[in-house]
């Protein structure tokens, strides 16, 4: 009995090296599941910041919002919103291109997305420089910089992911099959999340 077990064990070792095969019972690939779980945790993080924002605005209830004499650059931020929303379209174009085997479209879409994201970040930093208040100015200043800064950090991370994806695209790493362009698909999903969060941040902080 013992010798039989040893024989089976040796047979198995001959055919399989390294870690055990991943369980394929899930109907979603590991990379996409990973980014979705990450996004769920990020939604909770943003939710905590939004809770702080609404606490300051509704429960503390200051006489005016934004408190006098502070003003928010609604038009500039609106233009920035349009830029970021456009970048979701370009990353979608990049992915649609590679699904059809169009490598040129993939590169074009990724470069355009990167440039639009970098422009967004540049305008946001410029806004911080000229806005006229700091994170130390009342709860309003703190929550404004916290929310927009948290989002800006996510844009920065997204740009890093897009940088790697773009470099890989120029090296010809991606193909039309779904499993062959996960390196763009996952940053694309993350970028859409960042875009959706900004739309919510913009409407909440600048408009309402």
């Amino acid at each position: 009995m013992e010798s039989a077990t040893v024989a089976v064990g040796h047979g198995h070792a001959d055919h399989h090296h390294g870690p055990p095969e991943a369980n394929d019972s899930s109907r979603i690939d590991r990379q996409t599941l990973g980014i979705l779980l990450f996004i769920v945790s990020e939604v909770m993080l943003f939710g905590a910041f939004f809770a702080s924002y609404f606490f300051l605005r509704v429960v503390v209830d200051p006489p005016s919002w934004p408190p006098h004499p502070y003003e928010l650059p609604v038009a500039v931020a609106g233009m920035n919103t349009a830029i970021l929303v456009s970048s979701s379209f370009t990353v979608h174009y990049a992915l649609e291109s590679i699904r059809r085997g169009n490598h040129r479209g993939l590169k074009l879409g990724l470069v355009a997305t990167w440039l639009l994201g970098a422009t967004f970040l540049f305008i946001q930093i410029n806004e911080y420089v000229h806005i006229g208040f700091s994170a130390r100015d009342l709860g309003f200043g703190s929550i404004f910089y916290s929310l927009t800064g948290l989002h800006g950090a996510h844009v920065f991370v997204g740009l890093m992911l897009l940088t790697f994806a773009t470099i890989r695209a120029f090296r010809g790493h991606f193909g039309p099959a779904a499993k062959d362009h996960l390196g763009v698909e996952v940053p694309g999903i993350y970028w859409h999340f960042v875009d959706i969060m900004w739309i919510i941040v913009y409407v909440t902080v600048y408009i309402l």
């Binding site: 109907r27 996409t32 694309g188 999903i189 999340f193 409407v203 309402l208």
Partner: protein
Amino acid sequence: MKLNEAAVFKWVVIVGVAAALIIVVTLLTRPLVGSMLGLVLVIAGGVYAYRWMRQRWR
């Protein structure tokens, strides 16, 4: 399972259209009205997202 970038992109469009509606209503009326509309849309969107996710996961 069809949960990919194209499916998430659809949500960018949905949220973008909803935000545009809230912005227009807020600018035409008062921020409180826009906030109420936003709350209604968030609840409706949450219900739709839950049903959408269950459908996608099949």
